[in-house]
């Protein structure tokens, strides 16, 4: 059983590395992400309703919907959490002490291992597929519908758009450079099902990726990445995004240095849980939209 949805939203941090790293991306999508936290505040902001009794009613319906497992919301939450924790392999104990504080990149350097490019590429594609599957769990379109996802991707805004921006910047550009899309494609094409099975991130979420076996799942991952390539490429081009630009902005918000690029990717994996954070925000928004409409 998951934590209650109101607790998840109430406990969203207002500061710390994840929040600061996301704020550093504001230059890409100005004003789109406001770091909405707090369950009642989210209800008010999403619906525009201010009457406390109405807010309570909406909150109760949202809680009930989240707790109905058949509706897929808990699965979506699990996906967002798991893909973030699976990709960062440092012990929870080491991080727990530092969450909410200024994490010093240099202070952690000796505990970081640069992730091989292949593993980074696989992570990128799995995170993308996770977004697709979570989207379908939340919004109810059957999990195989890449076409619908593409249509909705064009409409992504707010915390969902921020999550995609962070995927491109933190899981694409920074660890893999400007050719991250080609690298993702090449890695998937050259990957065997067995190799996929050994990937930590894949292991975390494989149960919910469509496909009867690893080969089937690998095909789905490849098709999904292929379909979203265009969007990612346009996103980079239309915002003139470069690795340098992203890192430059990041250094203004998070205590990291540019000259240890290999380690920066690993550090972001460990310290920036943007999927879980923005995923909770997206989930809360959708639940609340449905709750208020159904009442």
């Amino acid at each position: 059983m998951s934590k209650p949805i109101y607790e998840l939203v109430d406990e969203l941090p207002t500061g710390g590395v994840t929040v600061m790293a996301l704020k550093s991306l504001d230059f890409v999508i100005p004003g789109q992400w406001q770091n909405l936290t707090g369950f009642n505040k989210t209800i008010q902001t999403v619906t525009g309703e201010t009457d406390p009794a109405m807010i309570q009613q909406i909150g109760e319906r949202a809680v009930a919907l989240f707790n109905d497992k058949s509706q897929g919301y808990q699965r979506a939450h699990w996906l967002y959490q798991t893909v973030d924790s699976a990709s960062g392999a440092l012990g929870a104990a080491a991080m727990a002490n530092k969450i909410g504080q200024d994490i010093s990149f240099l202070g952690f350097l000796d505990r970081l291992t640069p992730k091989p490019e292949k593993a980074q590429s696989i992570d990128l594609t799995i995170k993308l597929v996770t977004e697709l599957v979570a989207f379908c769990q939340i919004n109810g379109i059957p999990g195989d519908s890449i076409g619908d996802f593409l249509g909705a991707l064009g409409d992504y805004s707010g915390e969902s758009l921020m999550r995609m921006a962070a995927l491109v910047c933190f899981d694409g550009l920074i660890p893999l450079g400007p050719d991250f899309i080609q690298k993702g494609t090449a890695t998937i094409q050259g990957l065997s099902p067995k190799e996929l099975e050994q990937n930590q991130t894949f292991k975390g979420v494989s149960d919910l990726i469509p496909g009867n076996n690893s080969e089937g799942k690998l095909n789905f991952i490849g098709e999904s990445f292929d379909s979203v390539k265009g969007w990612m490429g346009s996103f980079v081009a239309s915002n003139s995004l470069t690795q340098d630009k992203v890192i430059d902005n990041l250094t203004k918000f998070v205590d990291v240095t540019k000259d240890k690029l290999d380690y920066l990717g690993a550090f972001l994996d460990i310290a920036v849980k943007y999927y879980a954070h923005t995923g909770t925000q997206t989930l809360a928004r959708r639940l609340i939209e449905r709750a208020v409409a159904e009442l």
Binding site: T47, E60, D68, S70, N139, D155, L295
Partner: protein
């Protein structure tokens, strides 16, 4: 120096009591603690009725994009379908159809309605919503998401739904 056995047992009891009470006290003060309990205990009723209509059945009754507004489908779940209304790329409103089988109180409130829209009982709900009820079962709503989308706009868009078609849904 070891504690006598009974003191060991007492220490264990006190420690577990302390852990138990600190663990339990957290959930109690949320205004949602009660509904959380009610919807997670064994045998809790599902939020969505198993006989609720599939959301996919509702899509065809939604209005189409028109007059500078885009209708973009965003949710389709059991008993629920929703679309965003966008104007010049900005979210201005939401349109939805829901099956009140899952939430009877949603239908019951229309008993207090004193006016009709397109022949169906209509209500202003909260500060941002207009709803109507079709066949005593399907609630059609228009919700404001930007102040520019007024009550008049909501009513106009409600009338654009294929309400007759929806009324024939069995």
């Amino acid at each position: 120096m070891f504690l006598p056995r009974w003191r060991n047992a007492l220490a264990a009891l006190l420690l577990s009591t302390l852990l138990f009470t600190t663990a339990c006290s957290k959930a109690d003060d949320s205004p949602y603690a009660q509904v959380q309990e009610e919807t997670t205990q064994k045998g809790a009723p599902a939020a969505v009725d198993k006989n609720a209509e599939q959301g996919s059945s509702f899509n065809k009754f939604f209005p189409s994009s028109a007059q500078g507004y885009d209708v973009v489908f965003v949710q389709e779940k059991k008993g629920f379908a929703e679309a965003k209304l966008k104007q010049n790329g900005k979210d201005v409103g939401m349109l939805s159809i829901s099956d009140t089988t899952s939430l009877p109180s949603a239908a019951q409130k229309y008993q207090a309605s004193t006016e009709k829209l397109s022949g169906y009982p209509v209500l202003e709900i909260g500060a941002t919503q207009t709803g109507l009820l079709v066949s005593d079962r399907y609630q059609v709503k228009a919700l404001t998401r930007d102040p520019s989308f007024t009550k008049e706009n909501r009513r106009a868009w409600l009338q654009k739904f294929d309400l007759t078609g929806l009324s024939k849904l069995k």
